[in-house]
Symmetry: C2
Subunit: 495 residues, 2 copies
């Protein structure tokens, strides 16, 4: 067996390990009783360590070198696969196994503490766990930064978006932090002038919400023989490409959030399912990174499903699902609901105008936490101050402040920026898609999502990790990633 | 760190791997959409292989030898832990990793084929998968038999019940095959003379059945912060001691089967939860084997919950759950339902008199399949013939014949005998428990299961793998495992 073929076998096993981990994570969030937490932390830390040890096994370096020697015999996808294998190997080699295991345990403990802390709005319950986790994260960032000769924060970003650089983020976030506060203020004025939409009277039973969600998911292209929809405290997309697990949470007084939540996660799920089937369980068949992943959920939710074409299709289904009648249930009034902007406290409930400001806050705070400029105990105060500065509101308690997100307690530092880069990419993709295929938007209005899905499959999903994020965006949209399409979209919808 | 301490670390990781596998198995049976099967097979085969490779790593033998050298410094539980480590290491060393992986894949494929074959009552759909699996099982049995100098079938038994020997089974099964057919015939005559119990009119909604099940599980001692109750095609107990997952299946026309099914699995769950907490994730903290495991489920179901004392407690709860009124819902009529015997086709629905005959059949057939005396294609005919001989009935189709059980398609050859050994042990344990503690049965009648659970915790659960099955039984009941208590129980209830 050639060195390359041996590598494929090894990485197939690594992918199976990662898949097992993904299922355990899903179960932890959706099914596990609280008393199972310690055993689960053991299971996940052990699998993570085994993955790490398999990656850094001495033969791995030898096989990579041998495969490089016969690179000319490989086809372009195999070459790209070899490149991705090397990238993962280098990443793992930068970290000692001890640190990988310790971070996994610390994250599991912090996440369990966060569940209690959030429920009780009690930040000190989380603080010591977060400090431990920050120490270990700093150590990991420093080790990887030294190995790759990049700044420590870039080393963290790289875990979620390969090649991302804080220097580029600074430019984009400065642009958005300058543009959005004024834009938001003007959008709020126009919204006030239009008057509030007619209220949508509830209650909306969870079963009816779920059935509607499943119906719309199916219309968008979600295949329930390869996935599930369940309930969790913090909605997410998990599982593996052939078994995609999405979750949501329901509010029986207001269906609008869970519905868009489901459609958002469906965007993630369609990306996973659309990854190149011929490269399942190989590195080149993996999602490129979190920027493209978030672009797919935000394209579906923000660009498509909160827009008039989708609501033309969906309004009758909503009326049917909830026995809605009268002027509150018109497409125009539903659009008015979904176009509302607000100076809100909660990121996941934020409208697309204010959302990037939530991200700018988290970006600034996580950089300050990591650099040591901000102490963990001062996080709640810094959060309040940042919210006032960027959004003009401050949380009354930590539950609706710095305890709202699972990311940091889960060990994900450097993740938040991908949401906003994803939002920019989503706007750019959708503008390009409509320009290139005039049947996409009429299709959506008629409930036919095949033209949109075909474009996404060809330009994004089916490429896996064959190209870089920058290449995928540039080739699909004829432009590098920037803020122009996003601003144009906001101006068209809210301006 | 001493060699022994290093071994504890290694076995803690192995236990985490096994725990991860247990969760993936549960998910496969309860949650996974059909399209996830291939990816799941990859995940499970990979984890199984990693477990195997960790066990047979060269340092493991060195550490075991070094720990043996300082055995005198270890306390009795540590010494037993070391003994169990060595047993697992020897077991793994007998099999090549290639074979472990191949069996896991073959079992995953055969199990998926079985699901279709059973639904369509189409044995040829399963047959080729079963042949492959049998070949691999024979190969594994031969390798282990050679390493341990035991017969190949004993090598398979040993996977489920350490130290079990077919020579002993032959004696017990000959005894039961001689006693039970006549006893069953007489019990049927007496039952006919008594007349049929009054029918219990349905339907019984799944939600009400589930709520009653949860209520009784809680009374028995099941802790829902450390476990779940769900639905699956084939009821089972899975998960890990701190997160025990039991399943059942509901029939809205008849609550009686699901109810006893839930109480049966609760017996398994209480054993898992009662394993010695100080030895979690170490070999000596594991269940001793499937004989004790099955003894705990059968003690709960057959000895306790189908008996008059339990029904005294449960009858009012059943009436409340299903709005039952009148003479059909008396404790006596419920007992008459639960004491019914029949010449049935389905093992999991069999009464306790005929059940061992189902096992004798499977024992004979799996030995014939493994030895090659019976070809896979001839299994349906041999099944029919065996059923006629032992039970006097034959299945009209393979769904209610050789396709009814998941065990063989799942790769479990040598498992079935443990059910009947477990039934014998259950009778022996319960007779001893009542003799030793006069508060047990009055407690059950009053809904207080603490005396029973305390006895089981002290005599069985809390011992983990500290002693052998034979030692546990002999010390708890003052007698070696035999058929006497079981026959006495049957005679008291049906004679």
């Amino acid at each position: 067996m050639s060195a390359y073929a041996q590598l494929e076998t090894r990485f197939r096993r690594l992918s199976a390990l990662s898949g097992a981990l993904a299922m355990l994570e899903w179960d932890q969030a959706v099914m596990m009783p609280a008393g199972g937490a310690e055993a689960r932390a053991d299971q996940m830390a052990t699998l993570g360590l085994l993955r790490h040890e398999s990656l850094i096994a001495p033969e791995m370096g030898e096989l990579l070198a041998a495969a490089d020697g016969i690179k000319g015999e490989l086809d372009p996808w195999q070459q790209a696969n070899l490149r991705e294998m090397r990238r993962l190997w280098r990443q793992a080699g930068a970290l000692p196994g001890r640190l990988v295991e310790a971070r996994a345990y610390a994250a599991a403990k912090a996440e369990m503490a966060w569940r209690r802390a959030r429920a009780e709005s009690d930040f000190p319950l989380l603080a010591p766990h977060l400090e431990t986790l920050l120490d270990l994260t700093r150590e990991a960032a420093a080790a990887k930064a030294a190995a790759f000769a990049i700044p420590p924060y870039d080393a963290l970003l790289d875990d979620y978006e390969p090649g991302a650089r804080a220097a580029d983020l600074d430019v984009i976030f400065a642009d958005l932090a300058a543009f959005l506060p004024d834009f938001l203020a003007r959008a709020l004025e126009r919204q006030a002038a239009r008057g509030a939409p007619l209220p949508l009277p509830g209650p909306f039973g969870q079963a009816a919400q779920q059935e509607l969600g499943r119906r719309l998911m199916t219309a968008l292209g979600f295949d329930f023989t390869h996935g599930r929809l369940d309930v969790s405290l913090h909605p997410f997309t998990g599982g593996v490409p052939d078994d995609v697990r999405i979750t949501t949470r329901y509010d029986e007084a207001d269906f609008t959030r869970a519905l868009m939540g489901v459609l958002h996660e469906t965007g993630h799920a369609l990306y996973e399912r659309g990854l190149p089937a011929a490269w399942r369980r190989q590195p080149v068949g993996e999602p490129r990174g979190m920027v493209l992943h978030e672009s797919q959920s935000l394209l579906m939710e923000m660009q498509v499903c909160r827009g008039p074409a989708f609501l033309t299709f969906a309004a009758p289904l909503l009326r049917e699902a909830f026995h809605g009648e009268g002027p509150a249930w018109t497409e125009a009034n539903l659009f008015a609901h979904y176009r509302r902007v607000a100076r809100g406290l909660i990121r996941v409930d934020a409208d697309e105008v204010s959302y990037p400001l939530h991200i700018v806050l988290r970006y600034r705070l996580e950089r300050a936490l990591l650099s040591g400029d901000l102490a963990v105990r001062d996080l709640p105060a810094a959060w309040g101050e940042g919210m006032r500065g960027l959004l003009g509101v401050a949380p009354p308690d930590d539950r609706s402040g710095c305890l709202q997100d699972i990311h940091w307690p889960g060990g994900a530092f450097g993740y938040f920026p991908t949401y906003t880069l994803g939002a920019l990419a989503a706007a750019q993709f959708y503008a390009a898609a409509r320009a290139q295929d005039g049947t996409i938007e009429p299709g959506i209005a008629a409930g036919d999502f095949r033209p949109l899905l075909a474009w996404l499959r060809a330009k994004v999903h089916g490429l896996g990790s064959f190209k870089t994020t920058g290449e995928v965006i540039a080739q699909a949209t004829d432009a590098p990633l920037g803020t122009a399409a996003f601003k144009a979209h906001l101006t068209a919808r809210y301006g």
